[in-house]
């Protein structure tokens, strides 16, 4: 206990240092020689002074070494001088190891008076360590008892205080019996007990010693120092002695550190790195429970104590003496190096519960595969959690703090082990249905993050059910913390999966025999669950940004599962999450969403590439639905933020698509561009600031000024404001091909660079099924300034690798559907439909090839203004072109032919595919993208998709053309051409 205090003190060096100085000066003043000078010197030492001091110290030591006859202090000035030198040196920098032998010999041999001996002993402060040999010789002096009792006592106290500075202790342990014999002395007994307490190892506990101690106990009664020593004996050998200490006792040993306290802390500070770790031996009996509770319902973390497993060896102890030294008792385990040295014969504590608070044992647990350890812990923890659960057990609510602490400890251990305990999982499943969501909230939620990943199919009913109920009925902050925990749970699972992947080569599999598909299902279930509750929570909480942040944070993990965690799973957020984020009032959410979409794209593209490279049917492929969903979202996003036609182009069933009439009724003037990066409520503030900077004199806040080059500046401005997500999204998903740069490449046609006239493509990742029949939404030229074209991801490698122009490659791609055997009947039907209409070459663009010069696209851009009065059928898009007659020379390289007033890319007539639609007359000059009006799902079932929508198109097609994002109209592009 004494040692415990000292270690505590040493943690407050400043304070101790202070008290020290006064301490030291106090006892120095008692001495005759004036130490003031030497005290004042040290700060202004130069090297010479140092040397001279060193000399005088050596002289002093040699004086003490040689002195023969007893000298009285008062008469001998030489002695006074040397004594003062030793004292001052000791205080300033401590004594070198060599000096101890000499000085201890002198002090204990009784040559001088006790006053001198006392002063010598008090100044025995080590600079670094104390050699063990000097102690051994001084013990021999002790045994011949040349010195007085008080000096002996002081010496023992000195050993106790300096115990941690003794370099080795093996020989000292050998002297255990000598020290033990000093117990007889009543005065010395307390200190000797303390010293023995420090020295005792399991092998020093012998029956005869116990008997001796018990005799002393009988003679002296209950003495704290004897109790402490006996309890340590019991600790090591419970089979020999038994004692129960009351928890009231705080200190068991008298303070023996007094005279050296200050000096010791000074040394510790000096050689902080070297000084040994102070860890008091555990008595294991000091847990004091003030309250009265039933014996087995107290929440006590058992102290680590000797295992009783050695009880088994009691009988054959004599025959097998070596066995004892082999095992390393857990209470001696104090440093990591000890753990490393003894890891092969470490003895585990008798109660496994104690490992929770013992980091070294947790290390040990981590590296051994002993089932019984986990089982012992499992049983204990399971029962403790069950009994102490404050909301399940009646009358235990008063112990909530305690339970909290316990959960905290368990969670810490889980974090340390990077592994969940199965007993915690069971506890959560059992108790969550009764949880009020308030009691020990953060602890319970944190425990939840460590639910082990297993293909446990009942997780839904055990975890998700109760959690969802609480989630919907609790506060915003609870919702956020649940989402946070679920995110961590997901991350822990994914990390676990990564580790499993890494250690796959091990023949010994993890106990959870999870197949990859089972694992994917469990993870997917979690993500879907979070998607569901997030969408509902956003409704409940009015799309508050705070909540949205946590939801998007979750999806930041989800969107990267494939690349970062190597798990073939990507799940898009539900529309209930996506659209609130897209239309959020807060740039943070929008930026986060942009980043997430960027990562989705990266993952999907990588997945496609892997599929292409491996050229084999992988066990797991992302379903086409994922691609479709991504594309739908992407179209909606680009429509909103970039091309300013959000309400038309969105093809998501839950999307923003609104009929023109409805929009008109809103009487909002420029509804088309109300969500582009200038007018978006989350970004308008930036636009305002940008305007102020760009046109400081203009107070009209004319947002329409931001176009053309200013548009680019504005983008740069946004990026500089920290909207990195937006930057990544725009740079990756909207590939912006400046016509200027194209013309520099000198391909085919030179185009007069016009301000702000650049092509933009919205890069989508195409699904397998989509490849031949492109979706309408992304593809159409979005207007003069911006042209988003569709990507056919599938074909792209062909396109990219092929030196041939894509126009010629295209027909090959059409029937290539047969390459994909695993596609369902509906898809096959679609492919057949597509085969009738061979895909238009400029639909087939690989994203990576986007920057490569590709004649077809430019020709398209050029051709557009020259085509007129008819429909351009591009894949399954129909571009309605009115106005001038087409220039056949430009149309030819594209393989376009006018068929009955329509332009068909392959030259085939619509009629051949069964289409009978008449050419449509669109008033005014415009180029209109024609999104498919039928819902997506319905379309996918139509085998010959093209003609049918075309026939139905009459109504929607009559809508006025949608202008481009930045106010540039179709007419302008025409002018540009």
């Amino acid at each position: 206990m004494q040692r415990k205090q000292s270690s505590k003190n040493s943690k407050q060096p400043l304070q101790v240092h202070h008290s020290n100085q006064t301490d030291l000066s106090a006892w120095r003043k008692g001495g005759k020689p004036d130490p003031e000078k030497s005290l004042q010197n040290p700060t202004s030492h130069n090297s010479q002074a140092n040397e001279s001091e060193q000399d005088s110290f050596e002289q002093a030591v040699s004086y003490f070494e040689k002195v023969q006859s007893p000298v009285s202090l008062r008469k001998n000035e030489v002695l006074q001088k040397h004594l003062a030198t030793v004292e001052s040196t000791a205080l300033e920098k401590g004594l070198p190891p060599e000096a101890f032998d000499v000085l201890l010999n002198v002090a204990l041999s009784g040559k001088f008076a006790d006053a001198v001996n006392t002063r010598l002993l008090k100044s025995l402060i080590p600079a670094s360590v104390i050699p063990e040999s000097s102690l051994v010789s001084s013990v021999s002096w002790l045994c011949v008892s040349k010195c007085s009792g008080s000096i002996q006592l002081l010496f023992i106290r000195w050993v106790i205080s300096m115990f941690d500075f003794i370099d080795h202790k093996d020989q000292l342990h050998a002297l255990y019996g000598f020290f033990f014999s000093f117990l007889q002395d009543e005065k010395m007994c307390p200190y000797v007990c303390h010293l023995l307490y420090l020295l005792t190892r399991r092998e020093s506990v012998k029956p005869f010693r116990i008997r001796k101690l018990l005799d002393l106990q009988a003679k002296m009664g209950m003495q704290p120092h004897l109790q402490a020593l006996l309890s340590l004996y019991k600790h090591f050998c419970p089979e020999l002695v038994s004692i129960t200490l009351s928890g009231r006792m705080k200190t068991y040993f008298k303070n023996s550190e007094g005279p050296w306290k200050a000096a010791i802390s000074a040394i510790r500070r000096r050689n902080q790195k070297k000084s040994p770790v102070f860890q008091p031996l555990l008595l294991g009996t000091t847990q004091h429970q003030s309250r009265k509770r039933k014996w087995n319902t107290q929440l006590i973390l058992p102290a680590s104590s000797a295992s009783t497993s050695n009880l088994a060896d009691v009988k054959d102890k004599n025959s097998d003496l070596y066995n004892i030294s082999k095992s390393f008792p857990v209470e001696q385990l104090q440093t990591f190096s000890q753990l490393l040295q003894n890891i092969h014969h470490l003895e585990l504590p008798s109660q496994m519960g104690s490992v929770l608070t013992h980091p070294l044992l947790l290390h040990y647990m981590n590296c051994i595969k002993d089932e019984s350890i986990y089982l012992r812990l499992h049983y204990w923890m399971g029962q403790t959690l069950q009994e102490e659960c404050t909301w399940c057990v009646v009358d235990s609510s008063q112990y909530e703090e305690e339970f909290k602490d316990f959960l905290e400890i368990v969670h810490k251990a889980e974090c340390f082990l990077q592994e969940g305990f199965s007993s915690c999982e069971e506890f959560l499943y059992r108790s969550l249905p009764f949880w009020d969501g308030f009691c020990c909230r953060s602890q319970v939620l944190r425990l939840m993050t460590w639910i082990p990943l297993s293909s446990f199919s009942e997780m839904k009913s055990y975890l998700y059910g109760p959690l969802a109920q609480l989630f919907f009925t609790s506060s915003l902050y609870f919702k956020c913390s649940v989402l946070e925990s679920l995110k961590e749970l997901l991350q822990n699972w994914l990390n676990w999966h990564m580790i499993e992947l890494g250690s796959e080569s091990d023949s010994q599999n993890h106990s959870l025999n999870t197949t990859l598909s089972g694992l994917v299902n469990v993870v997917a279930e979690l993500i879907h669950f979070v998607g569901r509750i997030s969408a509902i929570a956003l409704q409940l909480e009015n799309n508050v940004t705070f909540l949205l942040y946590f939801i998007l944070d979750f999806y930041e993990t989800v969107c990267d599962i494939y690349l970062r965690y190597n798990l073939p799973l990507l799940i898009m957020p539900p529309a209930g999450v996506f659209y609130p984020a897209l239309l959020s009032m807060d740039s943070v959410s929008l930026n986060q969403l942009c980043y997430i979409m960027y990562r989705y794209r990266t993952n999907l593209v990588a997945a496609k590439e892997n599929e292409m490279i491996k050229k084999k049917v992988l066990q797991f492929q992302f379903s086409s639905q994922t691609y479709q969903e991504y594309n739908q979202y992407l179209i909606a996003m680009v429509g909103c933020l970039w091309t300013s036609n959000a309400f038309q182009k969105d093809i998501h069933p839950e999307g923003l698509r609104l009929d023109e009439e409805v929009l008109k009724k809103t009487r909002v003037k420029d509804f088309k561009n109300s969500f582009n990066i200038v007018y978006h409520p989350a970004l308008m503030g930036y636009a305002l600031l940008f305007l102020q900077q760009a046109w400081p004199d203009d107070n009209t806040f004319n947002f329409s000024l931001i176009k053309g080059r200013k548009w680019n500046w504005y983008l740069e401005y946004l990026y500089a404001q920290g909207l990195k997500g937006l930057k990544l999204f725009i740079e990756s998903s909207i590939s912006r091909v400046s016509l200027v740069s194209q013309s520099k490449e000198g391909n085919m046609v030179s185009l007069r660079p016009e301000r702000g006239c650049s092509c933009w493509r919205c890069d989508r990742v195409a699904t397998q099924e989509e490849e031949e029949e492109e979706e309408a939404a992304g593809a159409p030229a979005c207007g003069p300034g911006t042209a988003t074209s569709l990507l056919n991801h599938r074909d792209s490698p062909d396109v990219a690798r092929s030196p041939e122009p894509p126009a010629r490659r295209a027909p090959k791609v059409g029937p290539a559907g047969s390459r994909f055997p695993g596609i369902g009947a509906g898809a096959v039907g679609r492919r057949e439909g597509a085969r009738c209409l061979r895909p238009c070459p400029f639909v087939a663009v690989y994203p990576e090839a986007a920057h490569a010069p590709w004649p077809g696209r430019k020709a398209f851009a050029l051709a557009l203004p020259n085509l007129a009065a008819g429909e351009l059928v591009v894949g399954n898009h129909v571009l309605v072109i009115t106005g001038k007659t087409p220039n056949p020379s430009l149309a030819a390289p594209l393989g376009l032919r006018q068929v009955g007033g329509r332009w068909n890319s392959s030259g085939q007539s619509w009629d051949s595919a069964g289409g009978t639609a008449a050419p449509l007359q669109i008033p005014g000059e415009s180029v209109q993208p024609r999104p498919r009006s039928a819902p997506h799902t319905a379309l996918s079932l139509l085998p010959a998709a093209m003609p049918a929508p075309a026939a139905e198109r009459g109504g929607p097609a009559a809508r006025p053309a949608v202008g481009a994002g930045r106010g540039t109209s179709g007419a302008r592009l025409g002018a540009a051409g």
């Binding site: 038994s242 129960t244 200490l245 088994a312 019984s372 089982l375 069950q386």
Partner: protein, 346 residues
């Protein structure tokens, strides 16, 4: 405790037609059929239990030791498997536990192990108390005080006893490594302070955990049904069910006593397949009792909580105490309790 007037000793006449048309005597179980409890917690409402004659006939058992369990009020505990426990070293354990108790009683004074203290500890094995050969033999721990006046006199007074047992606990045994000893059910009789000492010694020494085992009303109703079906000799005491009325300022208990033969007759009509009990049958049995009670007293017992069942076989209270009365059905009752204990620790 107030009782509903006039119903403290109600002798009921059960009308078989109110239950089923089956003849009441068709399915009498043989006296050797031992009760086999269900996996009560895990299998939910649709549980179905085979009442198989699994238990060995304990006619040959040492009547002395088995008798020491009878007619005593036992507190029930569940105990997680004992780590590194060895049945061969009971004497040594007795010495250690004796020293531990001595040290506990005189806090602060060390006690040498093996020195005679005023409390003597004995460990005894009860191999007859088990259902299957795989079960661990039960272990009886007894504390007896030596009179301080004449230490050498042999009159020792039994002050506390505890029994660890496992009757047909193979469910638990299946997955447990050999370092562990499964004795999941612990019965204690005597001062709680001694239970605490013995319990904490076991917890420290064998790294196990003790937990009070309370019996839910559902399980009590199972006990009532199962024990009603057991044939007992005539002049047996009445089958009594005690119900507690919830949500009252003062506790009110209703005692409902039935003649054991009537209870058996009712159960026999309810039980469809001999040797098998289902939850539906148990519910039906209790509903019959409730409706009968309601007819007489207009009290819906289904709205109250069943707190105690006492029959000629045994009596059990929901707070986790039990009194065993019939040596013939000893293992049967312990089997049921073992199941409950296992479901609590798993």
């Amino acid at each position: 405790m107030p009782r509903v007037p006039g119903c403290a000793h109600l002798w009921c006449w059960i009308q078989p037609h109110s239950v089923t048309a089956r003849p009441a005597w068709a399915a009498r179980s043989s006296p050797h059929v031992l009760l086999r409890a269900a996996k009560l917690l895990r299998s939910g409402a649709n549980r179905k239990q085979r009442v198989n004659p699994a238990g060995r006939d304990n006619e040959n058992a040492d009547p002395q030791k088995a008798a020491s369990l009878l007619r005593k009020q036992w507190s029930l505990y569940s105990v997680t498997p004992l780590y590194k426990f060895s049945g061969a070293r009971l004497k040594e354990y007795a010495r250690l536990l004796g020293a531990f108790i001595a040290a506990e009683k005189q806090k602060g004074l060390a006690v040498e192990v093996g020195v005679d203290a005023d409390v003597k500890v004995t460990f005894a094995s009860l191999p007859e108390l088990r259902g299957d050969p795989q079960d661990q033999p039960a272990m009886l721990v007894q504390l007896s005080s030596r009179s301080s006046v004449s230490p050498k006199s042999s009159d020792e007074k039994l002050i506390w006893s505890g029994c660890f047992c496992c009757v047909s606990g193979e469910d638990l045994l299946e997955n447990v490594p050999e370092d562990f000893t499964c004795l999941p059910l612990f019965l204690a009789n005597g001062a709680e302070s001694y239970t605490a000492m013995v319990g904490s010694w076991f917890q420290k020494t064998f790294d196990c955990h003790f937990c009070r085992l309370s019996i839910s009303p559902l399980n009590l109703s199972w006990m009532a049904a199962m024990w009603a079906g057991c044939s007992v000799e005539k002049n047996a005491c009445a089958t009594e069910l005690v119900f507690s009325v919830p949500c009252l300022p003062q506790p009110l208990d209703i005692s409902y006593a039935i003649h054991p033969e009537d209870a058996k007759a009712l159960w026999d009509t309810v039980q469809k397949t001999p040797g098998e009990i289902t939850q539906e049958e148990v519910d039906l049995f209790m509903d019959c009792l409730y409706s009968h009670f309601h007819r007489h007293f207009k009290i819906h017992l289904s709205a109250t909580k069943l707190v105690k069942v006492s029959t000629a076989i045994a009596s059990a209270h929901c707070n986790g105490t039990i009194k065993l009365l019939q040596s013939r059905y000893l293992t049967g009752v312990l089997m049921l309790l073992t199941e409950l204990a296992i479901s609590q620790i798993q």
